[in-house]
């Protein structure tokens, strides 16, 4: 039993060295049309400055830390400080320079416009 505990502790140190708060995946909606991809994520309690969005090599990594200032004795506590983290695969054709992000009412809304070259194009057939 003791050995197991030690092993568990070791593993904890390896993978989660700097993390004291639990990590959860936020629930998301992902929508797409010809021009852009939209990603909405629920992150209640996370303020703007605690959110990071990284896009590189076709990976979009989303992270938001919820900090809570609480006073008094908790009679019950169903949620607490948490890190919302989730990684998505995005097409390489996203125009990274034009990605928009908005945080409102605890919902993060990302707008990922597609590069011009990736948009579907109607090909006109010319009469010869």
């Amino acid at each position: 039993m003791n050995e197991q505990k030690e092993l568990a502790l070791k593993q904890e140190n390896l993978s989660e060295r700097n993390r004291q708060i639990p990590t959860v995946a936020p629930v998301v909606d992902i929508l797409e049309n010809d021009d852009e991809i939209l990603l909405f994520a629920d992150m209640p309690g996370v303020s703007r400055e605690d959110i990071t969005v990284n896009i590189e090599n076709g990976r979009l990594a989303l992270s938001g830390v919820r900090k809570m200032s609480t006073a008094g004795a908790a009679s019950w506590e169903e949620f607490g400080e948490v890190e919302y983290r989730r990684v998505f695969s995005v097409p390489q054709t996203i125009n990274i320079g034009k990605v928009g992000a908005e945080l409102k009412e605890g919902v993060l809304r990302l707008r990922l416009p597609k590069a011009e070259a990736a948009k579907p194009r109607q090909i006109e057939i010319k009469a010869s």
Binding site: A8, Q11, S15, E16, P22, T23, V24, A25, P26, V27, V28, D29, I30, L31, E32, N33, L38, F40, D42, M43, P44, G45, V46, S47, M68, T70, A71, G72, A73, A74, S75, W76, E77, E78, F79, G80, V82, R86, V87, L103, E105, G106, V107
Partner: protein, 148 residues
Amino acid sequence: MWTRMSDFDRMFQAMDLLQSRLSGIFEDYGRFRPTVSTWGITEASPRTNLYDVGDRLEVKIEVPGISKNDLNIKIQGNYLEISGSRKSDTPQGYKAHRIERGESTFTRSFTLPSDVEASRVEAALKDGILTLRLPKIEQAKPIQIAIG
């Protein structure tokens, strides 16, 4: 019988630990479950916290994506009821790859540990968290006793 509940609790803790490990390995694991503890009772209603801060109570509720017009708070004595509805924010003309958030309505009611002054309750909504400050009635406030 209830004294044995801690055993169950410990078991769930172990399962949660295992789950968090698995989440680290597989990105997909537990993806559709927004709650921190996926083994516990699943809730359709939002999660809440209740704090006792001496002369007032403080309630926090997770309500992402719900505007203040769609929230209703009712208080009577020591009974508190919060209801709300979440409207879909999915724009038209998009193909959905993944819909996990969706529309929902909820009602949650509590019996508070003491009566509160309903007229002096403050409610604030910030970043998807509703915070209620409920001042206790005079009789319920703690009194400092001086040692004679």
